[in-house]
Each structure stands twice: as structure tokens, then as C-alpha cells.
Symmetry: D2
Subunit: 338 residues, 4 copies
């Protein structure tokens, strides 16, 4: 941590800050330049971090050098995390494909979608039973019945599934059915929910909040890890910017950044990022080429009548064609399809 | 709702969209211009809204004219909502001042802050027992013990208090103590939490998500209202933008916009918006002048040792001085201090 | 400047950076913490700044402590700049009101608007002869004829005027007519234009780019100052964010921040910030209360037929009423109307 | 265009708007729904667009269905534009690679970089003689001398070059040397400059403003096209968002969007988007896979001593290796390297 003093800070003010630091068990390295004094802080920062240094007389601002991450950073673990789900290896140089409808609507819809994505080569089925919706009057998901349909689809298709959880009170229920539980974008900073999924043992998909920095995203992963669950998959799904031509702006750069800062696998969701069917194939191709560890794509047998996000769903034939591109690109960048 | 067809849409495609609309009980008004055809949709839109019209052949995009709000809009209720709390009237031309520490730390801190803000003229005490923090290693609040200290402060000071709730499982507990329960910025789209606070009868402060549009904010209020709780106070607290000179960018324009779109009172929190003590007085002045129905200000007896957000807390003497400005400005804009 | 080394940086890498610094005439203060080494750089930074330190082996990133501003910062000049225009004093505790049409359209429009704003108490007339427009097919201004009409209005009304310049080749012409020349928001980073206005001697209004940081804004002022023109007025006019309910998001916080970082006066343009007539009065009130040194408001005798930005123009009667509020609020915050 | 009336608009107000429209030669299609009336406007919109309809009594807002683009849209020209430069075909299914130093510093640097990128397979050399810099104290380019060095490099290497122009007074000079002239990101809305490059006949690279919407970008291209120059190359180079982990956020989605809205070729500049060397290879791969018509990459023989943007420059060997990936990915997505 660095404490930058004001250019007119008095000698006693500088000394007072240094003394305060030493009193908290840290070491203050005072460095006086031509314009101002800067104090480098080394040693144990736990006590130091919580002090509002910038309200002390003479202090201009505080700059953080090292974040508070303990577990999910590359510095904490050099090798990439590999997660095993139903015989699949997620991470470690593989490319995992998740596909299926945004929301479970009924048995026919789910099985039709599931068979199509399985046939096209997807590894994991997606389909949600609980949906966070901006309006209280929009379809909110089938709840437990949706989970039962997903479990049935798993049996029929022989593929694991991932499902979202939005309420800490439902974590036990969802994780008793799903192979992977998902924290959606709106809940990335829902800390009680993060802690709850951290206390059960199914792998967790953690979507980046569409208005969260990469740093906040990794701190959210730290919440889960810190509770004991180390099987975390990060998912970039677009951020909110001034541009409104697509629903969100896919932050493709976040993939290599998150991979360099953390040992956790990083996926991309091109469907929720763009919100538009015609953009999903090019963004999927970009995601594979940029080096994502996996992709997650909405596929619906009848997008026009989908109850949620039909505008972004591929039809089965489109998905099947896209998978051809995915295979070629994965090979071109040296990724092995699971 | 307006459906804009592609410039090369075929006559049959236009007819198919119109037919689909009529089949859902809506009326299609087809209007053909020199470049493209536009279809106005009138009648009952409930069934129409959930269809992904833009995936139908020939459709370019859909434009929404009226949002799905039923209760919290000005069109639903012309007169401003007035909320009564402990003899105070919030809204209806008054200016309400909430002040106190960001988080309850201990009895001395809370009472010292409470006495100071009461003496300076604040109407309601703030102080949180549950804090959502970016890092799992930061102070998370005293929990139930904090609520008990707040209840004690209410007795000693004779002023009501507001406290945040971050977990749907704690809503009963928090609302059994607090006079007003708060949904924080990170939880504005935590729909299970919104529904829970909608089902109890204490007034609710709903902070705008720092990355939420005004439209999403009003829809979040609609979630609460729709569950039966009509006593909702909106709080603008800054949004996330590219500018990093302050913690967030106070969206002062959101105050008159929200007041024109909704009948609910709108407050401003200049402390969390700026994150910096020296900016709180000018932003408070701006908030009163823009016509906010209330302000909420962090005050701490010893900001430098605050466990949460000390950088933005005013000292009691600063707050007392600021209240002089608040009174003068409230008078200048015709607001009555409660 | 601080150079943060990677946690696994080798001793020789640290030494190489330090040596490189010393070779450029700076002093390296190496500080080794438990996780990583940090190198503080003091002394002459001119040569140091242009090196891409982060591409040297072992370097993680570079943090800047002091910006490159030499003239416009508060550190360079403690007392606020006061600018004299036609007997008016801008800055130094006064509140200056600029008003008039966005664009000069014809003699009648300009004089009608000018008489109205003069009668209501405005000090300076606005009216542009050159308009930067998003579409090449929109009205681009009257050019030289507009300047002549403005000069005529100055004679008739006895008030100075400000007009925008958008082309470095027109700076001589515009400054030969106008009392203050304006750099618009889109041209804040048009460096040849900044240099040109810096080389003439009329005061310059420098609008903040709607997507520029406060730091970039001050650097743009530095461009002008560095050419010899020290009479610069900063104008906050809203920034681009994700919120689309108003044209831009007025960054009211930028006013006290810019005033603390720089000695230059800071104005607010609530008309261009909001783009909407009904929002102009509350934002003007907020601007006065936050402590702006001046405001600039669009007034048009017939907003519905304005050729540019009619949606944001006040009618004369509205402006006259608003000036009553401005006077009361200026008094409440201790500002003296010129 | 659609005019949305307020829910309480009077019948006479609706009639007045319709009458006003008809008076301007447009046709008003009035459609009354259960909540409000909407007026569709068809016919000639040129006169209609400039009216501030939302200030008329009873009008809530105006929604635009068709933008004002006349030439650069796909609707105006279905087939993609192909531009020929020195025997190369840009657009039309090819992938063009531009590479070289950000700024020309001296003959050795330029030739060393140029030989390296030529050997690795780049088609066009980049190197700027005029640089827009945030600070007036940063290196601003060699000016005319830089152009002469570039012309010399063209002779030596046998490859065309692109160079930026930042001042309308320099357009003649720059275009007399360069094979392609570039409008940089900060100048995308510098309309006099756009018009000047539109009046000469060298192809123009138009970078997207880092804070401009895709719609504004296409309107900027329209400025150039409207002056008579139809050879325009769009370049996506990242936008400004709240995320600060990279210099900008590469808007990869803008590539397929711009390609669908316009017939002009679309390139990607991963170097300026990220500002960081380690991110350039993955972003380049993503750009090729997403379907860009070209890429532009900074390469410098000695990045650490570059006078501009050294942090983002690849070394020759890195670029050479990256070109291997580019070839494989281009083949995988069916693009032909020129």
C-alpha cells in the first residue's frame, strides 16, 4: 500500500501517519520527492487496510499495490484449476461446450433442445428453473418442477446440467439436483448467496456482474472459495456500457486478463452478452479464438415462442453448424474439445 | 409496442407478424413508409411482450412505448406518496434528513454519532448491522447485536432508525427492529429480497443499483409494491461510469426524472456517491437544491478509525455546519424541514 | 512514480530497473515487502515518463503519483483565476450567467432571445455560428454571418458574447468577433484547435469532453495555457454513461473536484447535459448550490422551431422565473451575482 | 419516426401535432391505444427531423425508426466495398494485416520495424508522423520529416503505408505522402477534418471514437462519403467503460454489427484497445475469428524505449509468431490473406 501525502503536508503530519502505521504493526517507508512525500507500507496489511488513511491530516490519497485475494489468484496457485463433472475435465487446456434453453419451459421443449445440443456435440446441458427478471410480471421459472425435468433430461440424454440459483434458501434444493450451480450476473455481489454456494460441494459457475470490474469478480470468487468450495468456473457475459446496439458489450479482453490473474477456468456466454441471435456465432468464434476454457450458448427449438430471451437463442440447426466452426477454431488455437 | 420491419421484408412476412399479433388478442396497425413498414401494436400487451418478435422473418427490431409498470408510475397515481415514520412525514414537500454512521461498531460510537446528528437537526438515524463488502475479509457488520444497539439508541435519542438488510432470511429480524428497512445498491436486483421486504409492513428504502437504469430501479420498486408494501423511498447514490476521480458519479438528474416518472419520494446519499468527505457538503447542497425529498449522510465521531467507509464520513462539527446550509437552501427552494 | 514489480521478479530484474532509472537522472527507492518489491521514483520525471516500464522483465505495472500538469493545477497557483470580460469579473466568488440560443438562426431570433435574457439578468449572451453535428445533413450554423449578427446584438444589448469555434482555421475569425471563444465538448481533445485558441488572447471556455476524465480535461486546459493564454473557463456539461433517460449524465461532482484540483473557474451547462427542457431548472439550481462559478443556459423564443437542440431550450418566461431561484440560491451559498 | 403522446394528451394537442406534420409535407398516422396515442410519421422526413417535437404540448417523446444515413448503410449498397491499395484488395472476404510502430521516431527504428513486419507477412506499414497526446509535454510526432521517412520506407520495403492526420490544414500534406490517411479515435467527431479527408482521394481509415456509438461512427463515415470519398475503412479500437484493467474495452461485437449495418470494411486495432503487450495476441486472434476484414498491430524493435505507447508494442519475434496463428485462424473462418 502507498500513502500519498499532499504537497503541502507538514513534517509532523507525515510523522503522524508513519507512527500510526507502525502502531498497527506495519512498516512505513517514507520517501520524499521534489513535490510530495510518499509512504510505502510493507508488512502485515490486514489491520492497515481498514483505516481511512485519507481522512488523516496531510494525506491526499491511498494507492493499493496488492489486492486482498488469498486463494483465487495465480500468485496463490500457479497451475490452472481443473474441475471434473460427470467424467468431463473442465479447464486444463480443454474447451467445454454448454448449451440448451435459457429457461426450462416444459418437458418437450427441454428434451427437444437437449437432444439437439447433445447431437451437435455439447457436453453439458443448460436450462434454468429460477430466473431473475427485471419486471415482476415476467415469467420467473418453473421452480422445483423445472429441476425435476432437468434431472429427467440428464437421465434420458446422459449429460450433466447446470442451473441457476437466485435465493440462498434454494441452494440446498438446486444443488441436490444440478451438477453445477450457477450464480447469475445480477447476483455476483449477493454475498449471502455466494457464501451458501460456497458451503455445498457442487461446482459453481460464477457469472461476472454486468457492471462489475474483474477485480470485484475475483473477490466474489474468493467469497465462495473461502467457504470451502474450490470448484469455481468464471463466466464473462458482457458488461454495461454506453453502447446500446447490442444488449451488453462482450468484454472479450476480460478472458485473458482473468486467466492471467486467476487459476480458475474462464468461460464466455455470447448469448446473454449480445442478446441477439445473429451475433451469437461470431462472438462464439471470438471466444474460442481468444482462449476461453468454455462457451455457453442458448439453444431453443422454437426461439420465437421462448418465454425468456428468445431473441438470443439459436435454433438447433444453427447451433449444429456453429459447432463445426468451434471444432475448427479450437484446433487452430490448440484446445482439445472434451 | 412498435414492430419495425426490415426494409426488404416481404408482404407475407408483414402479414404473418400481424396475424400472430391478432392471434394473441392485440390489434396490429400496419403503416408502410417509403423505406420500411412499421406495425403499431395496441390492446392487451401482456401476451405480446413475452414473444421474441425480432426472431420472426422480416422483423428488424421492437420498440417499447409503454413500460410494464402498473403501480409505482405517476400515471398510476398522480399525487406524491407520503410516508409516516414515528410522527415524521416523508415526501409531500418536506425535506427529511437521515444521518449517522455507515455501520454500527459499538455502543459508544453509535450513541456519540446519534447524539451529534440529533443535535444538529437530523430526523432519522442510520447505522447498519449487515454490510455487503467486496472482500470476504472486510468487516461484515455486528448482525443482531447491531440491531439491538440501534434499538437502544432509538430509546435514548427519541429518533427512528433505518438499517440495511442483505439476506431474505433476515428480513423478519431486521424489520422487527428497524423503523425503515433498506435495500442497498448491490441488492437492487435481488428479487427474492425485494419480494421479502414487500411482504412485511415497515417502509422500505430502495437504493438505486449503481449500475442500474432509472427504469430498472422503478421496476425494482414495482416488485416491492406488487407484494403489498406501498411505502417505498427511492435513494439515488451514484452510478458507475468511466470517471474515477470520485467513487461513483452522483446522477443528480435522476432525482427530477424519477420524481416525474413515479409518485414515490426520492432521496440522495451524497456520502456513498462520492466516497470522499470533502465532496459530501457540496453534493448535499446540490441534492437539496435539485429538489430531493430527503438526504442521507454518513457521520462518524472518528472517521479515521471507522470500520467501514471512514473516508466519506463527516465529523459531527462538519455535519452541524452543513445543516445550516441545508436549512437555508431548503427555504430557498420552498422545502419544509420536517 | 511507483514501479510495482511482479511477485516473482528476480533480484537482477529489480536491479536493472533501478539502474535504468538512475541512468535517466532519477532516484530509485527500492522497497521490498513480503509479497513483492516496489520502486519509488523521485527526482526529475520528464525523461522517466516516456519509458514503457511495464515491458521490462519483472515489472508488473506503473502507478503515477503526480500528473504532468505544470500550470493549471492548484499546486501551481493557489488563488483562483479571475477573468475580466467587458467589465464583468468571472471567478473569484462571483456567479456568472450566460444565456441565449444554442445556434444563431437569424437576426430576429437572436435579438428576441438576447433581449429576454438580458432583461432576466443574464450577463453574457451565447449563440453559435458554427455547430458540430453528428449528421452531415443537419444545420451546421450560419458561419461568418452568424458572427456578424452576434456583434450586432452585442451593440444593441450592451452585453458580451461567447461563440464556439470548431476549426483551427477559423480561430482568427471567431476571436476577432467574440468576447469569449468556446471549445465544444467534441473538440476537447482536438489539440491543434486547443493550441490555436491558446495563441490568441480572448478568454476561452473549455467544455469537458462528454467522455473525458477530469484529468484529461485539465490536460486540455494545460494545452491552452502552455501556448500563452491563461484565461480559461472550464465547463462541465454532462458525461456519457449507460443511463439514457437524459441525453447525458450531468457530473455535478466534477465541479468541486475540478475546483479543488485547478485554480480555473468552473461553469455548468445544464441544457446540453440534460437535452430536455423540464430538467434544466432543477439542474441549474443544483449547479448554483454545488458552488459553480457560472451557468450557461439555452434560451430560445420559439423552442419548437429551433434549428438545433430545441428540446432543451427554455422559453424566455421560464428563464426569467429560473433567475429568481438562481438569485435566492446564490445568496444561500454566499455567491455574488455579477 | 414515431411521436409518442403523453397519456393525458388532449385531442386538440394530438390534432395539432398531426397538422404540424402535414404542413411539413409528411403523413401522420394516428394510432390510439388503451393508454396513449402514438403518431407514425411517413413520407419525407428531412424537414420533420429538425423540429423539436417533444416541446410541443402533449408530446412525451420521439422515437426514430430510420437513421439519417444515405450512403454508407447496407440498405444503400448491398455488396461490401472493396478498396484497392497498391495492388492489395481490402474487403471482399480478404484479411489485411497492417503493422508497424505507433509513431515514426527515426529512420533506423522505422526500417527495422518495417523489415520485420514485411518478413512476417504484413501487407501495409503503419507509422505516425502526427500524434494526438493527452499532455502537451508528450512527444507529438516528427511531422513532415516523419512522412518523408515513411515514403523512404515504402520504397525500400515495397509496401504501402497508412499515417494519421490530426489537423485539417495538414490533410493535403499527409495525403500527398500516405497511401491511406487515418482519422484517429479522438478526431472521429472532428467534422472539419472529416470533410477535408473526404475531399481528397486517398482511402481513409476511420477509427471509432473510444466513446462513440456505432451509429455516430457510421455518421462520421457519412461525412467523408458525402464529400466524395467512398474509400473508407472502419477501425474498432476499444471503447471507454468502467473497467480499467485494460486501457479500453475492445468492443468485438461492434465488428459484426458494423458489418451488418454498413458495406464498408471493418478492421480491429488490438494494440490501442488493450494498451498492453500481453493482451495483443489473444485479441488479434479474436478479431480474426469474429470476421474482421483486417487487423492493425503495433510492432516496435525496442518497445521499452518507444516514444509512444511502448507498453502495447509487440517485438518483431512476437509478431512473427502471432502471424502463424493469424494464418491458421483466417483459414478456419474462410478468410483469404491478401
Amino acid at each position: 500500500m502507498i500513502i500519498v501525502m499532499k504537497s503541502d503536508a507538514a513534517t509532523e503530519q507525515i510523522a503522524a501517519v508513519a507512527e500510526h502505521l507502525e502502531g498497527l504493526g506495519a512498516t512505513a517507508r517514507v520517501s520524499t520527492g521534489s513535490v510530495r512525500t510518499v509512504i510505502g507500507v510493507v508488512g502485515d496489511l490486514d489491520g492497515v487496510r481498514s483505516v481511512a488513511w485519507d481522512v488523516l491530516p496531510g494525506v491526499e490519497r491511498v494507492m493499493s499495490v496488492t489486492g486482498p485475494l488469498r486463494f483465487v489468484s495465480r500468485e496463490a496457485q500457479h497451475d490452472g484449476t481443473v474441475i471434473e463433472v460427470g467424467g468431463l475435465r473442465i479447464g486444463g487446456g480443454t474447451l467445454t461446450v454448454i448449451a440448451g434453453p435459457c429457461a426450462v419451459e416444459d418437458r418437450d421443449q427441454l428434451l427437444e433442445a437437449g437432444k439437439a445440443v447433445k447431437a451437435a456435440g455439447a457436453h453439458i446441458l443448460r436450462g434454468d428453473a429460477y430466473k431473475p427478471r427485471t419486471s415482476p410480471y415476467a415469467f420467473q421459472g418453473l421452480g422445483k418442477e423445472g429441476l425435476e425435468l432437468l434431472a429427467e433430461a440428464r437421465e434420458v440424454l446422459g449429460m450433466p446440467f447446470v442451473a441457476e440459483v437466485i435465493d440462498p434458501r434454494d441452494v440446498g434444493l438446486v444443488s441436490s439436483y444440478a451438477d453445477i450451480v450457477r450464480i447469475g450476473s445480477r447476483n455476483m455481489a449477493n454475498f449471502p448467496l455466494l457464501q451458501e454456494v460456497g458451503r455445498q460441494q457442487k461446482p459453481v459457475q460464477l457469472k461476472r456482474g454486468f457492471t462489475s470490474t474483474i477485480d470485484e469478480w475475483l473477490n466474489a470468487a474468493e467469497y465462495i472459495y473461502n467457504e470451502g468450495n474450490h470448484q469455481i468456473i468464471l463466466v464473462e457475459r458482457g458488461i454495461r456500457t454506453f453502447e446500446t446496439a447490442a444488449r451488453n458489450t462482450l468484454d472479450i479482453t476480460a478472458v485473458p486478463i482473468a486467466q492471467s490473474l486467476s487459476h480458475l477456468p474462464v468461460f464466455v456466454d455470447p448469448s446473454h452478452a449480445s442478446g441477439k441471435r445473429s451475433l451469437v456465432p461470431p462472438l462464439t468464434r471470438a471466444a474460442v479464438a481468444v482462449g476461453a476454457d468454455g462457451i455457453m450458448v442458448d439453444v431453443h427449438p422454437h426461439p420465437e415462442s421462448a418465454l425468456v430471451d428468445g431473441s438470443q437463442a439459436l435454433e438447433p440447426a444453427e447451433f449444429s453448424e456453429l459447432m463445426e466452426d468451434v471444432r475448427r477454431l479450437a484446433e487452430a488455437v490448440g484446445r482439445e474439445l472434451a
